[in-house]
Symmetry: C2
Subunit: 231 residues, 2 copies
DNA sequence: GTCTATAGACGGATAGAC
DNA sequence: GTCTATCCGTCTATAGAC
């Protein structure tokens, strides 16, 4: 008699939300936030046009939800890995390379998840660090802040001799390298015909990135100490 | 009698084009391509709404013109600097740091040009490497291609012992660091309250970037040689 | 070359039936 | 929760007067 009830049992209560989030993740990655319309998005998700506003309130709120869903667990994993390493080290400072791997590992593992949409998200995330909309960058910054503080502390203990402002810049360079590497798809092919499958080989990429970033973070201090800023 | 004629003499023939390009550069940097409307753009430029289509044909063609105007001279300067260095070296291979400086110098000099709009363009460019629209990335790649080939050759001569595919990846990492550093404005402040004026001190930034990138490019090869790709 | 006016399509959001 | 129908604003592009 109540067909609606039996249908609802087949379809879990939050499936619509999830379908919307997955479709949004992919379309935002492919075309950007502005260029993705609610009509495209709901069509791809196989849900009604009005469902986005019902479940999320607005397009902006949906964008926020897309990032919260993944970033919270991603940064928690980063912090957990750092906790594990520090417990293991029992008070001794960590190796720089180990901290780097703890940071980049979360993103690299996700890039191999092509099915679950993780790869879509990682590419979207890498681009969004430099999104024109201040509101979006600020959301990302807020979601990153706890992990950022945690890793900054770990690097400070690992590199006690490095000036604080230099460390901040080198961490900034590190995020840049990672963000761009995960977001960009064309440059490598542009420079040289690189095998497409290499781009998503997380183990190979991790080795390459770690070697590059470790050397950069540990680089000798530049001599331009005469370039002093005015008070 | 002919007031229109005297007015036209005050206003050079291409001033309208230039005003449009300058306004577009700034608004594209601030809000992105999609979020910038022709109405905002022409209002800011102080020209008529129809002027963009008259002078450029379409919004897409305007976007292309914005990049061509700056990138052509920027990459020509990069190549000229490399020519100069190689002539000076008279056959000996160049130092890695010198090649790096020849590449990043063009962008860093532009970032100091706040008045002429150079800074706007650099931040826009840094973000556009990872633009969602394939058409735009492809344009950028095309405008970069000659300089890219030239620098790849210079690095190959400077680092003859480095495997070609490893070099390509390290150059990719280098572009990423530079692109992100020039495009991003928030991360440095997020990690630590960095003095805002430092972000645009090109000499300081050049020293920091060169130290980081040189070490990264010259890093020992990673040991993951067992990770072989299938044919 | 510059302007006004408008065509014509598409955007996000919502009211209200079911 | 889901759906249809629709409001109303904004968009790019262009026609045609000056």
């Amino acid at each position: 008699m109540e067909i609606a009830v039996s249908l609802r049992q087949i379809k879990p209560p939050h499936e619509t939300r999830t379908r919307i989030l997955d479709a949004a993740e992919e379309l935002f990655m492919l075309h950007g936030f502005e260029a993705t319309s609610m009509r495209q998005l709901t069509a791809k998700a196989g849900v009604n046009l009005a469902a986005v506003n019902y479940h999320f309130g607005s397009k902006d709120a949906l964008i926020e939800a897309v990032f919260r869903r993944r970033l919270d667990v991603m940064n928690a994993a980063r912090i957990a890995e750092l906790d594990r390493l520090e417990k293991e080290a029992a008070g001794r400072p960590l190796a720089t390379a180990a901290i780097i791997r703890a940071f980049i590992g979360a993103g690299l593992r996700m890039i191999e998840d092509a099915r679950g949409g993780g790869r879509n998200f990682i590419r979207l995330l890498g681009r969004t660090y430099t999104d024109p909309q201040k509101q979006i960058r600020s959301l990302i910054g807020q979601l990153y802040a706890p992990a950022m503080e945690r890793f900054k502390g770990a690097f400070e203990r690992a590199l006690p001799q490095m000036p604080r402002d230099e460390l901040v810049w080198r961490m900034h360079f590190m995020f840049g390298t990672l963000a761009y590497t995960l977001a960009a798809t064309d440059t490598v092919q542009l420079i040289a015909g690189c095998k497409p499958e290499d781009r998503y080989d997380a183990r190979l990429l991790e080795a390459r990135l770690t070697a590059f970033l470790q050397a950069g973070l540990l680089a000798p201090l530049h001599e331009a100490k005469d370039v002093k800023k005015a008070a």
